[in-house]
């Protein structure tokens, strides 16, 4: 039992010392943020490697949605500060828009 606890402590210590920075590095490579502000997506075009998880956050006082033109992804209504995430596994050009305010259009390019 004692051995188990020690092993646990060592694992946690290792995770803190090595794993977290490593995890951060991995996340930084495979995550991207898009802001929804003033009825627009920013950046309007973003290029990311395959496997990237993209996060959209709505900063407006009005709900928006994130809907791809080919219907491959579709968020629910995002109220203020709500977030939507989608992981792009395959290379390609993904055009999307807000289905409530279709003048809002943008693109994710996956390499």
């Amino acid at each position: 039992m004692k051995k188990l606890i020690w092993m646990g402590i060592i694992t946690i210590a290792l995770a803190l010392a090595v794993g977290t920075p490593l995890l951060r590095a991995v996340l930084a490579d495979n995550a991207a943020d898009i802001k929804i502000d003033n009825f627009s997506f920013a950046p309007e075009t973003i290029t990311v490697p395959a496997g990237t998880q993209v996060h959209w956050t709505n900063h407006d006082d009005i709900p928006h949605t994130v809907v791809s033109e080919d219907k491959s992804f579709k968020s629910k209504a995002l109220d203020t500060d709500d977030q939507f995430s989608y992981t792009f596994d395959k290379p390609g050009t993904y055009k999307y828009f807000c289905s409530l305010h279709p003048k809002m259009t943008a693109t994710v390019v996956v390499k």
Binding site: N38, T65, A77, D79, F97, S99, H101, P102, K103, T105
Partner: protein, 322 residues
């Protein structure tokens, strides 16, 4: 053009068109509310502050109804943290009108997030209004997660397709259109082929002297396409109405009053009962605009519409809540 200092303008005109300067003057008042009446080919326009001076015969009509719009029940951001309170004020305003309106039109964005409890609140509150019947068309906020199923189940029974319909009252033909479904990337409001075909058939049998009222959420005239304030295929819909003598188009969506007269068609947008949006192009984007508390109720409002047989157009009166 006669112009006097009492905020009243009179135009003689023998044709259908309305003097452009007169129209602009009318529009300038719209922010605070204006009454436009056309009698015997003469446009009369009054600012709302002068309504008490109007005699009873001036407001007599064969048909009177009220338009409410953009109640956005559920909205709770700084632009208005009490949309229930301002909606109540709108109902009080309706109940204080000198004539009980025959019915109400709600031109959409009943709810903020299409939630059942938001729809419920509006339905319950409207039971205390003097006018009992309400005819709804959805706004884009009412059809968010289910393509409008919940909205149609509650408000659109008997409608066709996505929920469009028509009805007659006192010889006036009303057409409720849905232009918030299947919006295309980069586009504006959208009616769609099926609805257009239905509408063409719907008005075919009517005599050209039938007054027509069309109501829909997103404006059916191009107000400011950059902000999506227009409908892609509205010209097609309006072409079916060219032969009629009197057509009135009522919309919401832009949360401010605007009027335009084009040939036989009078366009009008209603104020919201919930929050204000900027004037076209005066801000980086549309969206809720915070105004000083003491100004808010003056910028929200309802629209009262009167129809008198034999007159060219319907009289549209905007009242603020303040």
């Amino acid at each position: 053009m006669e112009h006097n200092d009492k905020d009243e303008i009179l135009h003689d005109h023998n044709h259908d068109g309305i003097d452009r300067r007169g129209f602009l003057k009318c529009m300038a008042w719209a922010g605070t509310g204006a009454l436009c009446l056309i009698k015997g080919g003469v446009l009369q326009s009054y600012s709302l502050s002068r309504l008490p001076e109007l005699k009873e015969k001036d407001v007599q009509a064969e048909l009177s109804f009220v338009q409410i719009s953009d109640s956005h029940m559920g909205f709770n951001k700084p632009a208005n943290t009490d949309v229930v309170g301002t909606f109540k004020a709108a109902i009080d305003k309706i109940n204080a009108l000198p004539i009980t309106p025959a019915f109400m039109l709600h031109t959409g964005d009943v709810s903020h997030l299409s939630k059942p409890e938001e729809f419920d609140t509006v339905q319950q509150m409207l039971k205390s209004a003097s006018a009992k019947d309400v005819f709804y068309v959805p706004g884009e906020h009412d059809v968010i997660n289910d393509d409008g199923k919940e909205f149609r189940d509650r408000f659109g029974k008997g409608g066709q397709g996505a929920g469009w319909y028509s009805f007659d009252n006192k010889g006036v033909h009303f057409i409720g259109l849905v232009n918030v479904m299947n919006l295309k990337a980069g586009g504006l409001g959208n009616l769609g082929q099926e609805q257009l075909e239905w509408m063409e058939k719907d008005v075919k049998h009517l005599s050209k002297s039938t007054p027509i009222v069309v109501f829909a959420h997103i404006p059916l005239w191009s107000i400011y396409p950059e902000w999506g304030w227009g409908t892609d295929d509205s010209a097609q819909a309006l072409s079916y109405l060219k032969r009629f003598g009197s057509v009135t188009v009522l919309n919401g969506h832009i949360h401010q009053t605007m009027q335009k007269v084009e040939g036989n068609i009078t366009f009008h947008t209603a104020a919201s009962t919930a929050f204000v949006q900027p004037k076209p192009g005066t801000a980086p984007s549309a969206g809720p605009m915070k105004v000083p508390d003491e100004q808010l109720r003056r910028l929200l409002g309802i629209t009262d519409v009167n129809y008198r047989r034999g007159e060219h157009a319907l009289a549209v009166v905007d009242s603020s809540l303040g």
